[in-house]
Symmetry: C2
């Protein structure tokens, strides 16, 4: 029986009806030609359910001692595992647009997983238009972390449209096949020297008097389940509308944009794909907050991952660092706002100069952790605060298939907590970037409009860069011009508030 790490337990302890601590994803597929939807989905459900060798933790439930989560907690096989409970059929009411899908997924993401069973659910959703179907999965963060969850999703897919599932995609057989092909190693702990470097850096930058080295050692051990201890504090709740208390109801929206279009925009400003994503989000958040008369005087801060690789630098590999970027949402002019965002990203990167990839990883993990898990480090009041998380999950560039069904998009659903009422996560897939936005339905009313505001912001920036708006899109959306007009009107309105 596997012991839970203190970080795993932290996610369970921090959970409430208002703050479920599961992560999810919704993927869109197109049925193979000629197959019947009902038969295909029933066969798929049957294949998924039909295994005696489930990959951990899919067959395991929590086993707590007398002290509950404060004591010894382990994963144990569920003696009455009920695969019908975990793998479910659902359907959309007519007319079966994405709107109906988002409504259903918002509801499903807003309910707690059942603690006496393995902490996951998978929903096969029928009733979409154009021969599409959707799959929504939800897994507790205590059971599967983000990286493993990405690997598990991928292990189900194949680049071969004719590949038929042999075993349940949740079986050990399927996982071993994937792992052999990929050769994933065990993640290593940072060395003592790396811990020391990070402690020194954090101490001098954030002026902390804590014994950071000892705290970091405990933290990394706890994270990987090798002992250590974490204590949970009350969560801090800052003042802006994005940082209010949340209730348990969620609103989810998703949208894809062509990678090339966003990348070209970044390049036109002398920046990166990532800079352009931040520009889009900054513009959209400005419009949303202006429309609700909630735009702060100062720019919103976003916790974002940035690549540290520079031209000719091979040592730092693909190190991705978490930085707090200033979205400069108080600036009305799109180009000026974009340049301010880029400058703040540059400043954020400077902090990491001279760190090893392992050190970068550790610091980034600290900065992105729910504040509840960071308390033992004594850094909470000193780490850079932020209003919203914009996370980038590395994706697949090939078109993938699941039992012959083409995957058309894959949209992440992350966690919303008190003080963080919105989460934007994006994943690159094929030629697109798929955005998934989850928010508290009460604190952020009509947040589904953010998707339209992102398109508006993108068009605005393209105009500012001298592009014909939307023209870099391979799809060449015809409505782009109309949208830009609407966007310019809004920008003027926004400037007045």
């Amino acid at each position: 029986m596997k012991k839970l790490s203190m970080v795993d337990k932290g996610f369970l302890l921090a959970e409430s009806r208002e703050m479920p601590m599961h992560v999810g994803g919704v993927s869109l597929f197109t049925l193979p030609d000629g197959v019947d939807e009902q038969a295909f989905l029933h066969d798929l459900a049957h294949t998924i359910r039909d295994t005696d060798t489930l990959l951990p933790p899919f067959g395991d439930r929590l086993r707590l001692g007398r002290a509950g989560l404060m004591g010894n907690a382990q994963w144990e096989p569920d003696p009455a595992l009920d695969m019908e409970y975990h793998v479910r059929h659902s359907a959309l009411p007519k007319p079966g647009r994405y709107r109906e899908l988002f409504t259903l997924v918002s509801r499903l993401h807003g309910t707690l997983l059942e603690r006496s069973r393995p902490l996951w659910e998978m929903h096969l959703i029928e009733g979409l238009q154009n021969r599409q179907f959707a799959v929504y999965t939800k897994t507790h963060h205590a059971a599967v972390d983000g990286a493993r969850s990405v690997h598990i999703s991928r292990s189900m897919l194949s680049p071969d449209p004719n590949y038929e599932l042999e075993d349940s995609p949740l079986s050990l057989e399927s996982w071993r096949r994937y792992k052999d092909a990929l050769q994933i190693g065990q993640p290593g702990l940072p060395t003592e020297e790396e811990l020391r470097n990070v402690a020194d850096r954090l101490k001098s930058t954030f002026d902390s008097s804590t014994n950071l080295l000892r705290a970091l050692r405990g933290f990394t051990q706890a994270w990987t389940g090798r002992g250590g201890d974490l204590v949970l504090p009350h969560l801090r709740v800052p003042g802006s509308v994005l940082n209010s208390r949340v209730d348990g109801a969620r609103r989810f929206v998703a949208q894809s944009w062509p990678f090339a279009r966003i990348h070209a925009l970044g390049k036109a400003f002398g920046g990166t794909f990532n800079d352009a994503v931040l520009g889009m989000c900054a513009g959209a958040l400005r419009t949303y907050l202006s429309n609700h008369a909630e735009l702060p005087d100062k720019g919103l801060k976003a916790m974002v991952p940035v690549s540290l690789r520079q031209k000719g630098d091979v040592d730092s590999g693909n190190a991705v660092a978490a930085i707090s970027a200033d979205l400069s949402t108080h600036i009305a002019d799109p180009a000026e706002r974009m340049r301010a965002v880029m400058a703040s990203v540059q400043a954020g990167k400077a902090f990491y100069q001279g760190m090893s990839p392992k050190e970068v990883e550790l610091v980034s993990m600290l900065m992105q952790s729910p504040s509840a898990l960071l308390m033992p480090l004594g850094l909470i009041p000193r780490l850079p605060p932020y209003n919203v998380a914009i996370s980038n999950v590395p994706g697949i560039r090939e078109t993938m298939y699941w039992n012959g069904a083409r995957m058309d998009g894959s949209y992440p659903l992350s966690i919303v907590t008190d003080g963080m009422a919105m989460n934007i996560t994006l994943v690159t897939y094929g030629e697109n970037v798929d955005f998934g936005i989850i928010a508290c339905r009460r604190s952020l009313p009509q947040v589904q409009r953010i998707i339209d505001y992102m398109e508006d912001a993108l068009c605005e920036l393209e105009m500012a860069a001298g592009f014909e708006a939307g023209n870099t899109s391979p799809a060449g959306k015809p409505k782009a011009t109309k949208r830009v007009k609407a966007a310019s009107k809004k920008a003027k309105t926004g400037a007045k508030t």
Copy 2:
């Protein structure tokens, strides 16, 4: 702002992820001829959502002070009432049988209501076969008790197939119209003399040393929200499989039988409709427990409502008393079992002899209350224990319509708690009796089969009474004979265990 009574607070305090304290119902309707399902359901949802004068408590949310539920708790208007959140569209996956409906309703009934919003949801469910649709409602027991909930459901319906909804069925206007037609009075408290009589009776019967009079006074006042106090104990958890700990997942099944068929069976045994219902349930529970090798040596006890009215007696009106009936599930012979059930019902009725209707009502309420709410009376270990509740909700004998859609059946979903893993509730409607059975999915696996076992038990009893099985049914089910054969085989098997 209305204050919550201590009993209302009790339901909130006793609630957990594993034991949601909401009650629900699912009703089946047939679309009016010629209308389009999608348009009809969208119009219906629009009408329900469209009101500025919502009937309390549908627009009210909980407001707690610093002491939480242990302190002052009130209902206050939700400042950001979101009717789209409460009134929802859902759909069934194909082929849209009752099986798919029960699966969806089981899931919906197994999730907690959101405490920061008014404590109810209504789901309009499309995708059923034969031009039917379903409506599932769920309401917290703290917000609406059983009787009010029945009235609210009825206030939406009309015996006139051509009656079109004028206002939202959840509006004050609609409620006033219904109340005027019905003339519902405020329920009165029992008099001091009635309290004294009940206290004396309970004291002598259950040998209690508590000051019952004072406790009862407090209890009835708390129940009606006029003060008083209740303390919640840990719940007792007896040993049988029906009385184990529950988790949060539910299984729901429902079925209708012709009232005349069950009534005729009761009469053939010299008993009542209610006796025949108990006979059906006793046989079904025996089969279910035998099949799972869990049949106890002694008969299961059921808490059931019985009518006390005797021929020529008009004073006691429609007094319905709760008694603990011995289901005699250890007896293999159907007729012998039926006679034992009837004898225990007679013995149970004797307890109420000479009580006024108000006294009967008070004692019955006590006996049916969740044990958590009874602790202050000091009677818990003394009140008759029971394994399962079989509740009878008084229904409507006329065929009813909702905005022109004919109601085909209406099935209750009650509460399942630790120690009470199954609840059987029935309601008479039109020419039928509609049974709704809700159970813990883990403690009672495959409990959906109980519906088949009830039909089997009914056929067995009909054979024992010398009927041609199923022949009293107006529908004249053709499969009845086949079922009886299966049932007899099972009865033999059952006798061996």
